[in-house]
């Protein structure tokens, strides 16, 4: 201080703060305006969106309008429109004078009413107020005075000035009366006017309808309406509020175009001159799937239940989309948007709306099952059978114990009764004993029920992988360790994932599996004909599930194994048995005793060693046995020789000799067995395979039903927590080139600390979160690498993202109680057995066989399309057919309905449960009522029969030329089912529809269309009618249908004999070339 000179002026009193105040005040006022701006726009960014919307959409509508006007003009050129227009003009002229007159009267009445009304309502209000005072006044005297006041007011005269200038005076009652009179008069007049104008409005409506029906887009008038709405729009929050589901979605405050009737694209919304669509253009597009919105009305469903995000937030795009740290339900990324379906449609296996299948989520759901994810991870709805079986087993055990106790107690009671002192007491004890016995017989009934249930469940229960109890019988021993090393090296498309096993683990696991395998003798099989085997393999339908060839050469389905190298691993004798009937087990398994039952157990009870679906009781305890291999592979009902041929062919499929595999002696080392058991259990092999000692192993993985709603903190990113939060070019931990290629979005550069990032990385390289960690063998992550493709990772990620515990009420869940429930359940079965590999269920759905080159020229050799199966066939027949597609117990080496198809409908041995589901599924899919009551087919008279027969066999409609007749030679070239099946199989009304227009029912069918034409409300034959029809007035189509339903074998034979074409067709059309080849083949003895 001392250095500073002391000021002359007193600095406290002398200093001015004016400039400080000025600056501070200016800034303060500035912040005030800033605060106002922030309040009005800063915190309400949607206002900017709505302003932009008005500009851009308005401009868009202008261009849309001019093109719409053009197309409207072209519609107006139409002569049909001209007639309508003429009718309108005429109606207009006719009603013109009358209309004008009554309109004038109406205007006059309205004016008078208006004049009276204003005076009347004013005076009435005063009277009402006085009346209220009267009502509420307490003393009699004041009531009387009020009454007087009212009366005098009512008597007062009021002046009404009419619009023509005249004045008139009215008291209140007069006024009231006049008012009512004029009002009634006006109502009458407006009705009159309506009547007069009725023809005009009707003609006008017809014209407008015609235009909107014949225009692709909206009419100019409609667009004008939209434009007006857009220009008049005042910025406001657009909100969907559904109180019952607690939905408050303000998404449409920015996404103004989501529900507009026009299709709005990003390009259309991009402002002129801009290179890329900006955030406004991206926000204004219309919803890409308007059909979906029709099913899910946004006014009921909102937006966020499907898309997630924070529907209430309006302060920023980031907040509204929920993409900030603390919002638990961020918007699903665009490519995963189908995840939203899962929150309500978890019970559906296939999601399709109309002809559109939602592939991402459908494939995700399917992959979860097909790739065996459910072997380790529980997921509600998947693979229920083992759990149900378990609970049934426990109930059985409980009842058995109870029964034993009861028997013992009853015996005790009887004994006591014998020793009882008095008769009375003895009787009492006896009664008790009898009651216990009765209870026991009831328990027996319950046991029977449970056994029946477990019979079905046991049949339905399937494993993703093969039965490893059979390894010694089916596999090349030395091949096993090589396979375990990395299954995808041997077979790139295999479902078996790569467990990253050490050599020691491989040795131990193979030793355990080898040493616990069955050692039963297999019957030796003769070698077959490989060339014929190849032909059968390619034609019987194996390729609908299996594939053969690698890389570009691969053909067939991916549902089951690729068989390119099967010759290196398989044992021929076992392969023959497998092809002949894959379900045939080596030994049955008793879940009750938990052991495999052998011939010795049967011998002990003196029973023959026979087990199949009809002999499925355990000789030891009488409960249900697992008598089938738990595979979905069906029996193709091949003859043993055909099975040998196919097996011989498959054995030739190899790249190296089986003997070239290194000798794996360690597999017989008993010391390794125990260690192997540990590893087999550790890796949860029992989830997908049947393995001795592992039948009751639980799932080793975490439950995934609600994985998507797990808090992110519960997902262990391990050492990548920080890295994934920060993003950047070093944030991608996966180094392996193959695994990197599995990431749907490629290597990460953005932060990926979210569910999507976690799932994608986990699926691409399942042990990624072990990277950098020091872990022991038993601590490492166990999830194997499923070698998925990019798309599959995307599908599964979508599925998992959608696996959320939803906050929506139960009623939003898609759990229909009607026929749609049957569709839901049916899809699970259809997908389980890969029915879609051969058959078409949804229009536009491609089957695997359709894609094969051998069917390109012979479409009629493809399995039938099942689009209308429910409408076509009798449900009871369908049940029979599905349980035995040969429709015969003796002649099984054939198709029951279409013997001419080389591809074979296999026997899946469905359980009763699944049969019921499938039949109901088909009925529901075709919207058929259940139960089905067959229509009565009237018996034909002899004359009618003659007529029908002549039509049936006429040269214009030689039905038996193509339809099978049961004659072996003819059936070789037939391309349609036998008529004899119709009675039991088909629904008559469907047959009528079918023979009228087969192309409409099943596009691409070889059945000709146009056989009948409509004449005087009757369907008559379109070709030259046979002479017997002269004078016949009835419906030809109905006659023919009835005839078909009454056709007997004898009748058919007679007709066939009389027809020149029926037997061996003389001139086979080109379409039949394939059939002819087979016919020749048959004569050459190819088919044995």
């Amino acid at each position: 201080m001392a250095e500073k000179p002391i000021p002359e002026q007193d600095p406290i009193t002398g200093k001015s703060y004016a400039i400080h105040y000025l600056i501070a005040t200016v800034i303060l006022i500035g912040t005030l305006f800033w605060a106002l701006y922030d309040e009005a726009w800063g915190q309400r960014p949607w206002k900017a969106f709505q302003d932009q919307w008005k500009d851009r959409y308005g401009a868009f509508l202008n261009t849309a309008k001019s093109s719409s006007a053009k197309s409207e003009q072209s519609v107006e050129q139409d002569p049909q429109y001209a007639t309508l227009k003429q009718a309108y003009d005429q109606a207009y002229q006719e009603s013109k004078t009358k209309g004008d007159e009554s309109r004038k009267k109406l205007d006059d009445a309205s004016a008078r009413l208006l004049a009276v009304q204003s005076v009347f309502t004013d005076r009435r209000a005063y009277v009402n107020a006085l009346t209220y005072e009267l009502e509420t006044s307490t003393s009699a005297s004041s009531k009387a005075s009020k009454q007087k006041e009212i009366d005098s007011y009512k008597a007062e005269q009021a002046t009404v000035e009419f619009s023509d200038g005249s004045r008139k005076k009215f008291t209140f009652p007069q006024l009231e009366e006049t008012y009512n009179e004029i009002r009634d008069e006006r109502t009458k007049l407006s009705l009159e006017l309506g009547d007069v104008l009725k023809p005009v409005t009707a003609a006008k409506a017809k014209m407008d309808d015609y235009i909107s029906d014949h225009m692709v887009d909206l009419t100019p008038a409609q667009i004008e309406g939209l434009k007006k709405k857009t220009t008049d729009w005042d910025p406001t929050i657009v909100q969907i509020n559904v109180a019952e589901a607690n939905i408050v979605d303000r998404c449409e405050s920015c996404h103004m175009g989501a529900r507009e009737p026009l299709r709005i694209t990003e390009a259309a919304m991009t402002s002129k001159g801009a290179k890329k669509p900006d955030e406004y253009a991206q926000a204004f597009v219309s919803h890409p799937e308007p059909e979906l919105l029709q099913i899910h009305d946004p006014d009921k469903f909102g937006c966020s239940p499907c898309h997630q995000g924070n529907g209430r937030a309006t302060t920023s795009v980031e907040k509204a989309h929920g993409n900030y740290e603390h919002w638990l339900w961020p918007l699903y990324p665009k490519e995963n948007s189908q995840a939203g379906c899962q929150s309500c449609h978890s019970a559906d296996m296939v999601l399709a709306s109309g002809d559109v299948q939602w592939h991402t989520i459908n494939d995700g759901k399917d992959l979860f099952r097909q790739r065996g994810c459910m072997g380790c991870h529980r997921y509600e709805g998947y693979d229920k059978e083992p759990e149900d079986l378990n609970s049934v087993g426990q109930q059985i055990k409980q009842i058995e114990t109870q029964k034993k106790d009861d028997v013992k107690q009853a015996a005790d009671l009887m004994k006591h009764a014998d020793a009882a002192e008095s008769n009375e007491e003895a009787n009492k004890l006896n009664e008790k004993a009898i009651a216990l016995k009765v209870a026991n017989s009831k328990a027996d009934g319950r046991l029977q029920q449970l056994d029946f249930q477990s019979h079905s469940l046991m049949q339905d229960q399937k494993k993703v992988g093969p039965n490893l109890k059979d390894v010694r019988l089916k596999l090349n021993k030395n091949w096993i360790p090589v396979w375990l090393k990395k299954p995808s090296d041997f077979r790139p498309t295999t479902k078996m994932p790569n467990f990253r096993l050490s050599d020691r683990q491989i040795q131990a696991i193979s030793a355990y599996i080898w040493q616990t395998g069955f050692t039963d003798e297999l019957p030796k099989q003769k070698p077959g004909n490989a060339a014929h085997g190849k032909e059968l393999f390619e034609s019987r339908g194996c390729l609908a599930c299996h594939s053969i060839g690698e890389g570009d050469q691969m053909q067939g389905g991916v549902f089951s194994a690729n068989l390119t190298r099967v010759g290196e691993k398989a044992n021929y004798d076992y392969l023959v048995r497998w092809i002949h009937n894959a379900r045939q087990r080596t030994r049955p398994y008793c879940p009750y005793e938990k052991k495999d039952i052998g011939p010795e157990d049967y011998a002990k009870k003196g029973l023959p060693y026979q087990f199949d679906l009809d002999h499925s009781r355990c000789p030891n305890d009488g409960h249900e046995l697992q008598v089938q291999n738990m595979t979905v592979m069906p029996s193709l009902r091949l003859s043993p020789e055909d099975a040998e041929d196919i097996a011989t062919y498959l054995m030739t499929q190899k790249k190296q000799e089986p003997s070239s595999y290194a000798n794996a002696v360690f597999m017989d080392d008993p010391a390794l067995k125990e260690e192997g058991k540990k590893w087999v259990r550790f890796y949860g092999c029992g989830g997908c395979h049947e393995i001795s000692g592992m039948e009751d192993e639980g799932r080793i993985g975490t439950e995934l039903t609600y994985e998507g709603s797990k808090p992110i903190e519960r997902l262990d990113f391990a050492l990548f927590t920080e890295v994934s939060q920060r993003g950047g070019k070093d944030s991608e931990p996966i180094k392996d080139k193959d695994d990197l290629a599995r990431l749907p979005d490629g290597p990460a550069t953005e932060p990926w600390y979210d569910h999507k990032g976690f799932f994608e990385h986990k699926l691409a390289e399942p042990n990624i979160y072990d990277q950098g960690k020091v872990k022991g063998e038993t601590e490492a992550l166990r999830m194997p690498n499923l070698h998925l493709t990019k798309d599959q990772v995307l599908d599964l990620t979508t599925f998992l993202l959608g696996s959320q515990e939803t906050s929506l009420p139960q009623s939003y869940q898609y759990k229909p109680g009607d026929a749609r429930h049957d569709i839901q359940e049916g899809w699970w079965v259809v997908k389980k057995y890969n029915c879609m590999g051969c058959h078409q269920f949804i229009p536009g759905q491609r089957t695997i066989l359709m894609g094969l080159k051998q069917y390109q020229d012979v479409q009629e050799q493809l399995p039938p399309k099942l689009l209308t199966e429910g409408a076509r066939v009798d449900p009871e027949w369908l049940r029979k057919f599905l349980s035995n597609p040969a429709l015969s117990t003796t002649d099984t080496n054939r198709n029951g309905v279409r013997p001419y198809l080389k591809v074979r409908m296999p026997t899946f041995s469905f359980s009763d449960n699944e049969l019921r589901k499938l039949v109901r599924f088909f009925e529901a899919l075709s919207q058929q009522p259940l139960p089905y009551i067959p229509e009565e087919v009237p018996a034909l008279t002899t004359k009618e029969t003659d007529m029908a027969r002549s039509l049936f066999s006429s040269t214009a409609a030689p039905c038996l030329k193509c339809h099978a007749t049961g004659d072996a030679t003819h059936d070789k070239i037939a391309t349609a089912p036998n008529f004899l099946l119709a009675k039991e199989r088909l629904k008559p009304d469907w047959v009528e529809r079918w023979i009228t227009d087969p192309q409409a029912v099943s596009p691409g069918t070889s059945m000709p269309s146009g056989l009948f034409k409509q004449q005087n409300n009757q369907w008559v034959f379109a070709g030259p009618t046979p002479p017997t029809f002269n004078g016949f007035e009835g419906d030809h189509r109905k006659l023919l249908t009835d005839y078909i339903f009454q056709l007997t074998a004898e009748e058919q034979r007679r007709v066939a004999a009389s027809m020149p074409h029926a037997r061996a067709a003389v001139q086979p059309s080109t379409n039949h070339k394939q059939a002819v080849v087979e016919a020749q083949h048959a004569t050459n003895g190819g088919s044995r």
Partner: protein, 309 residues
């Protein structure tokens, strides 16, 4: 050095006040020290010149003839205070426009946040929980802080230094305040905000807050070092240590006052002095306990079935 981590902590809306506090605190201490120095010089001058002391008109400004001996609150004080009010309003408005309230996800009792931190002004208290059991840190200590603040007017017998900055006349009060507020309160808030990461572990500024970090740290109780095992012995031992601390400390305070602050000491009654000494020693005990814990991993000194110190 993880700059991103540092930036994340400093830029969190929660931490704006504490980040602002650090420079402001430095600035105001500087201002106070500057004024105190000027005053101290003036006091020296006036003490040397008793005549001038009679006519001197202001606390800090040197004497100047013609200046008013005193000035009115209005307008000379209030105009400055009002200006300050305007500036504070501006700051608050800009703050509230630019930074929203840091709301977090809906509470989930099954998934608590880590680290779970109190509001910044309570982080000092939360930090104390590391060194004492909740009963002491959460109830006894805060109560003592409040009581201590309340009794200041009654135990502060020094009549000097009211209404002006001075260091010379109030060395003890000022250093006690600086120690209690700046060293203990603010420093502990800074530790709680910048140093304590996931698992309430000690992360140096610029060290990544790694949720998976593992450290090896075994805490012992003081009696364990002496091989005491029975509860009784631990309680008695701890009691002796704590009572001993107060006795020895009390002696030290006494000798300090007797030697350095004779005047103050004479003005104090026995009750005033012993209350002051007790509170002062308790305050000193906190950093001592922190040091024991942080440097020598000693958890508790005095262990009883009812409380631990």
């Amino acid at each position: 050095m993880d700059w991103r981590q540092l930036w994340e902590i400093c830029s969190a809306p929660d931490n704006v006040p504490i980040v602002g506090l650090i420079p402001l605190l430095g600035f105001y201490i500087y201002l106070a020290v500057k004024q105190a120095r000027a005053n101290d010089q003036l006091i020296e001058q006036l003490e040397a010149d008793p005549a001038m002391a009679k006519t001197h008109h202001r606390k800090t400004w040197p004497f100047k003839p013609g200046w008013a001996k005193e000035v009115h609150v209005w307008p000379f004080l209030l105009r400055i205070e009002f200006l300050a009010a305007i500036i504070v309003t501006i700051i608050l408005m800009i703050w509230s426009i630019t930074l929203n309230a840091p709301l977090e996800e809906p509470a989930n009792p099954n998934l608590t946040m880590n680290p779970a931190k109190a509001p910044w002004y309570f982080l000092g208290l939360q930090e104390m929980l590391v060194y004492f059991d909740p009963w002491i840190a959460g109830v006894v200590m805060p109560t003592m802080i409040i009581i201590g603040l309340m009794v200041i007017p009654y135990i502060d017998t020094n009549p000097l230094g009211s209404g002006y900055y001075t260091w010379k006349q109030r060395k003890f009060s000022i250093s006690t305040f600086m120690f209690g507020f700046v060293i203990l309160w603010v420093a502990m808030i800074i530790i709680g905000t910048f140093i304590r990461g996931p698992g309430w572990q000690w992360f140096w500024p610029g060290q990544t807050w790694d949720h998976n970090r593992l450290i090896y740290e075994v805490n012992r109780d003081l009696p364990d070092l002496f091989g005491l095992t029975s509860n009784m012995a631990k309680a008695v031992f701890g009691g002796i240590v704590v009572v001993g601390f107060y006795l020895v400390g009390g002696g030290a305070v006494y000798s300090l006052f007797r030697r350095k602050m004779q005047k103050d000491f004479q003005r104090m009654s026995l009750l005033q002095f012993s209350l002051m000494a007790f509170l002062w020693l308790t305050m000193i005990a906190l950093p001592l306990k922190m040091a024991l814990r942080l440097l020598w991993h000693i958890k508790y000194v005095w262990i009883t079935p009812w409380f631990n110190v």
